[in-house]
Amino acid sequence: MTRLGLVFLGMVLLFLYTPILVLMAMGFNASPLYELPFEFSTRWYSDLMGNESLLTAGFNSIVLALITSVLATAIGTLAALALSRRHFRGRSLLQLLLLPPIAIPWLITGTAMLIFFFWTGIGRGMHALVIGHVALAVPYVVLVVGTGLQTVRADLEEAAMSLGSTPIHAFFAITLPLLFPSILGAALFAFAVSLDQFVVSYFLSSPGYVTLPVQIYSAIRKGFTPEINAISTLLLLGSMTVILIFARFARPGAPK
């Protein structure tokens, strides 16, 4: 059984990482047509430095992901706290409504958002992307933080209050530190949801404000150049570093 499991795990890793490794390698191959033999070159990286539109799109993507991450984490954490610690009318309904968006295909969500934003006059562009991405990311944050909250007993805050803490102090001294790994995990999740997002971004971006996946998509339509491999490699290394640092220091779910 264990051996079979290892074989499966090996295959999963193989199929996940091989294409990525090939993509990274081809970014350093001199041939624009992915021809072998491999000839090392940094040509595509220097080309990339001159490719204004790809660089701008990459920068846009990172800024958008950061904004989304901060907003969605703040909103989602507050929502998770309210859903698990407060009793109010419609609580179970709200909780129920949070989950379906995760299962709705992004194409449908994107179309719906585009129609709605057009109809309400919100339109397209960066502000529309921020609203759309935050809306997409909030359910994930609520899920991650909500799960983390289950490991933080409510009577800890009561104990703090019995010792003289106001509710606000009890929250900052007890619940927040215990919840921190979950909140950090949720923030990364939100960051990833935004950075990965193509479909919704495609609908909501305006000609003047494009994210990297959208830019890559239109670049591919015009003709594939290994500059795309280069920027993808940079992006990949960046996000993997963040995730690995998080995994090393925070260990999601487990209080330190």
Binding site: M161, S162, G164
Partner: protein, 359 residues
Amino acid sequence: MNAQVNAPATAPVTHVAIQSVAKRFGTVPVLSDITTSFAPGSFTSLLGPSGSGKTTLLRIVAGFVTPDEGRVTIGARDVTDVPVWGRNIGMMFQSYALFPHMSVARNVAFGLERRGIRGAEAARAVGQALEMVRLTGFGDRMPKQLSGGQQQRVALARALVIKPSVLLLDEPLSALDRRLRQEMQVELLRIQRETGLTTIFVTHDQEEALTLSDRIAILDKGRIVQAGRPADIYERPETRFAAEFLGDSNFLSGTVSQGAVRLGDGTVVQTAHPLPAEGSPVTLAIRPEKMAVTESAANLLTARIVTVIYAGPVLSYLLETRDGTKLKLFLANRDGTVLPEGETISLGWSPDHAIPVAD
């Protein structure tokens, strides 16, 4: 906000009073018209089944629950509208509720910090509190590294170090195994006596209530059905519920007839206690250990032994009378003799031990 919870130099001897307190959750009444008081330095158990309102009553004293009606006073202060953090209470929770991200010393110092006590003074107080619960040298450990019993002691030290006006215990021992629990009961009593703190203890465990308290209040369906010294309640229960919840009891139902009680099968039972009016229905409670196997007593009843439970020091017999009434009999295991199942025996008891109870 620290000014109002400054810890006094010594633990004050505080009187706690509850006056006409009522609480409902939605439309469900949880507590109705509770009036009781807790004498300075006393150890009172609130005893009752789950849903009796005992925990809500404790949480009203703590300030976690605001009563719909009535007043709560701690010492000379009416605290009904004072929030938890202004009441200077020491509370122990069922789950210990130690802060998992803080060391033992920081847990204990938490309440001191809230009172503006830091540095050497706080360290000294923490040391004393840990010494009192016999955990000297454990200050640097994390809660996770401690056993259940040790965590319990830390929780107690944390509640005591702030010199609270009143100590509130919410079933703090129920998560411990039997032996540890008995050890902690002894510790708790010792510390309560040493500190002289007015203590209110919530439990559903009658044995624990009997062992620890100098006063028990029995709650049922949101009312205090009887309150008093443990021995008084045990020897003289006023209601069937009290007789059943504190200790075991046999019940015989009949009607009052010529100063005695006539049972359904015609047997007449004498009681030394006042009875209701002639002809009215009445229930008598008789403790199983106050019955004996005898043929010469003021009250006699024959019954068949259905089951024998050999519990070591005590033998419990489950009996059935001819009309199907089930009875219990506890006999001290003096010489190892066990009466056989199926045998019919004659039970006797004194009129003193037949206590009329309200249903």
